[in-house]
């Protein structure tokens, strides 16, 4: 049996056959089983995806999709791997969207509004239209983190932008041509590298390791036979959960 056939039979294309929905992929109509995600519906319709597909789990932002529904003027967005199909959906993917990424040395920048404005001066062009927030498939308050950036509040930018998956839908719709997700990343790195207190226990542990404090213990464990290891393992004292 060929590999490919096995996979089709496997759980990925696990669709309950029964009721179908009619969807339109870049204008072509397809009848696909209800209950599929947009991504799986495209595959069901015969598309072998190379672009516009990634982790298939909602973390990588590769499958940003825009769609409209029959009889509805609104433009909807979603991740193809996380959005269920609906009857009458007209959809297209945005497999790539150009977004300039400035080059900087994070260690040498100072964590303030100056750094953000130097690399992303366009953030001051924000029209407060809130379109970025409306299109964010993660439901982030994108416009609010742009506002926080203008005020130099890096902590707030970091908090509001942390769950960003860099799908680029905000960038594609911004009338001020802001590259939101790259700016958010710079702000978070500045906040993490310069404004968050370092873990002192971590620093201490590095010094201990460098002094060779654990060498003997590890050497003995590496040489221990299976029986000895099993005995030590069974004797471990388990720390209570939090």
């Amino acid at each position: 049996m060929f590999q490919e056939e096995k996979i089709t039979a496997s759980k990925e294309a696990h669709a309950p056959l029964g009721e179908t929905a009619r969807i339109y992929i870049m204008g072509k109509s397809h009848d696909v089983p209800q209950g599929l995600t947009i991504l799986k519906a495209m595959e069901y319709a015969g598309y072998r995806l190379v672009r516009g597909v990634g982790c298939r789990g909602g973390f990588c932002g590769a499958c940003a999709t825009v769609y409209r529904k029959a009889g509805d003027f609104r433009l909807y967005v979603g991740l193809a791997c996380q959005t269920g199909i609906e009857d009458g959906m007209y959809l297209a993917q945005i497999p790539f969207y150009p977004a300039p990424k400035p080059i900087y040395d994070i260690q040498r920048l100072s964590p303030d509004v100056g750094a953000l404005l130097r690399f992303f001066p366009e953030i001051v062009r924000c029209l407060q239209c809130n379109t970025c927030t409306k299109v964010c498939p993660q439901g982030l308050e994108v416009m609010n983190y742009i506002a926080a950036a203008q005020q130099g509040d890096l902590k707030r930018v970091a908090e509001l932008s942390f769950d960003c998956i860099s799908c680029g839908l905000c960038v594609s719709r911004c009338p001020a041509e802001i590259t939101h997700y790259h700016m958010g990343l710079l702000a978070r790195r500045l906040f993490g590298a310069h404004m968050t207190p370092k873990a002192t226990h971590l620093q201490k542990r590095l010094a201990e390791i460098e002094k060779g404090q654990f060498e003997e213990e590890l050497e003995a464990l590496c040489r221990a036979d299976r029986q000895a290891l099993e005995r030590l393992y069974a004797q471990r004292v388990i720390e209570p959960e939090g």
Partner: protein
């Protein structure tokens, strides 16, 4: 309420037993004997029909999953006679890094910092990797109560005491350095106000050692190291997978053949050292399981290195993550992080009863769920015929206060919220899903494979985790061995002298496959899976570029 009527009675059972369970009475842990017996009876690794013995290559006679054997017992995707290898190469570099996830990107950064000329290549986009999807955390023994030896022992016990000792030693020793490196690069760890790391348990840990960044831990690391590598000017060719390695006339690794997925053109890289950081094999769907893995996880690195003579270790063991989504259908097989159980959520059957201590190692919890749904018949069946047990996520807020779930597991709240399931108030249905390739290419503690000038780091390699990896040791593994391989490769690249390039190893392997009587027409590596229905596939008569 988001669940269909057929599932609600069982949800009510979960609610009924919840008050008693919130008292958090300890559930008996498995003894080593009980665990062994549970695994042997119910873990998919112990199902002989899931495996076969290889008929070609360095591991001939050893068993691997059928799905991997299908790709190992296959001819190369390329025709070795179609290439003029020694006229001109397209790229001539010190270090070629194959794969652009966490292992590849950290390797590229370190090799670059050592002065090496680096080229990265990757199948999809930079960062399209399982690293991006890792939610739960990274282990490092950095609390004063913890020690490297304790971490070592937990890793060995989790792996069945068969892990390669010097690899485990490297893993636990470098761990605090890796966390420090990420902290300095600006990764936003979950911290106390004084900067101390917030650390929790994971399955199989004896002490709280799990560092995290919400439930976007891997994404945060990936974003940060990728940004740093872009700042350093490191070149990454996207949508350009490797289809085979190149050796030189003396049999050293000397680079690779690339294929551009947009233009379908092949190109040649000559590299003094090559680091394979191409990830695992989730998308092979061993024994028909769904997977948590990235679209590109098709074992390409294992395939091309094996063909070039690199042996594999522990390739007969696959990690099934205990908690993959069983409902809703749209999220089927996707990961529910172990952090949920680390935060105290119980696993219960359709009657609301616990059946395993939730933080046993993953192999044991998966086996227990399979037993509960199979032999014990206490799994719940969904409307589409999928079996599962409940993970009582609503306990988290009840134990730690309202808002805890939303703060600690934002990705999950969002993911289920899209389908009308509020995980802060309702349990979610789970069944094991293929998650990790425990084994892989043989390496030493410097990331070197037995093939000169070829290194491997991360999931593509084997030995670090023995027969079962612990949570939080994969995000660790990729950075520890990505950095180690890069340091050694950058150094070695200075002295390597390459002869004329050759694909004789591909010819030789093709001959072996033929001599073993395998004439199935299969080619490998797979590059990308094909999820289109057969009804579509049989109509594609013009040939396809990948798959």
């Amino acid at each position: 309420m988001s669940y269909p009527d057929s599932m609600r009675a069982s949800v009510a059972q979960v609610e009924r037993t919840r008050p008693e369970r919130l008292k958090r009475r300890p559930f008996a842990r498995l003894t080593l004997e009980e665990k062994t017996s549970l695994l042997q009876r119910f873990h998919p690794d112990y199902k002989p029909e899931g495996f076969r013995h290889l008929s070609a290559g360095p591991n001939r006679g050893q068993k691997v999953p059928h799905e991997l054997a299908d790709l190992l017992e296959a001819r190369s995707r390329i025709d070795p006679d179609a290439f003029e290898l020694n006229k001109a190469v397209d790229h001539d570099v010190d270090v070629l890094v194959i794969g652009a996830g966490g292992a590849g990107t950290s390797a590229a950064l370190i090799a670059h910092s050592q002065g090496a000329k680096v080229l990265m290549v990757t199948k999809l986009r930079w960062g399209d990797a399982n690293t991006m999807m890792a939610q739960g955390g990274i282990q490092a023994a950095d609390r004063p109560e913890d020690s490297l030896g304790r971490h070592y022992l937990d890793v060995m016990g989790g792996g069945g005491f068969v892990n390669t000792p010097e690899l485990v030693r490297a893993l636990v020793t470098d761990a605090p350095f890796v966390v420090k490196w990420l902290e300095d690069l600006g990764a936003l760890f979950d911290k106390q106000p004084d900067g101390g790391m917030i650390e929790v348990h994971g399955g199989g840990t004896s002490i709280r050692r799990m560092h995290s960044c919400g439930d976007y831990t891997g994404m945060e690391f990936m974003r940060v190291v990728r940004d740093e590598a872009r700042n350093q000017g490191i070149v990454c060719l996207e949508f350009t997978p490797v289809v085979d390695l190149l050796l030189d006339d003396s049999g050293q690794c000397a680079g690779a053949i690339l294929c551009d997925l947009d233009t379908k053109e092949y190109s040649l890289v000559r590299a003094r050292c090559t680091i394979l950081a191409s990830g695992g094999m989730g998308r092979l769907h061993c024994q028909g399981f769904p997977t948590t893995n990235h679209y590109g996880a098709t074992a390409d690195g294992v395939i091309i290195a094996y063909r070039a003579g690199v042996p594999m270790v522990f390739m007969d063991t696959v990690q099934y993550h205990p908690t993959g989504v069983a409902f809703p259908e749209q999220l089927f097989g996707q990961l529910v992080t172990e952090k949920v159980r680390g935060l105290g959520a119980h696993l219960v059957n359709q009657e609301g009863e616990r059946f395993i201590y939730e933080l046993e190692t993953r192999d044991a919890v998966s086996a227990a769920i399979i037993r509960e749904c199979g032999e014990r018949r206490k799994g719940l069946v969904t409307p589409t015929g999928v079996l599962g047990v409940w993970l009582d996520t609503s306990m988290i807020d009840m134990l730690w206060g309202e808002g805890t779930t939303r703060k600690a597991l934002p990705a999950m709240v969002r993911q289920f919220g899209r389908y009308g399931i509020d995980i802060t108030k309702e349990p979610i249905l789970q069944y094991p899903t293929q998650h990790y390739q425990n084994g892989g290419l043989m390496i030493n503690e410097h990331g070197e494979t037995p093939l000169p000038n070829l290194f491997a780091a991360g999931e593509v390699s084997g030995g670090v985790h023995g027969r079962n990896r612990l949570m939080g040791n994969s995000l660790l593994d990729i950075f520890v061995f990505g950095r180690r391989a890069a340091r050694r490769a950058a150094l070695r690249a200075k002295e390597v002298r390459l002869g004329p390039l050759s694909l004789d190893h591909v010819r030789a392997y093709n001959r072996q496959v033929e001599e073993a009587g395998i004439s199935n027409g299969r080619v490998s590596p797979m590059i990308l899976p094909d999820y289109t229905p057969t009804s579509h596939r049989i109509r594609r008569v013009g040939g396809v570029a990948v798959g």
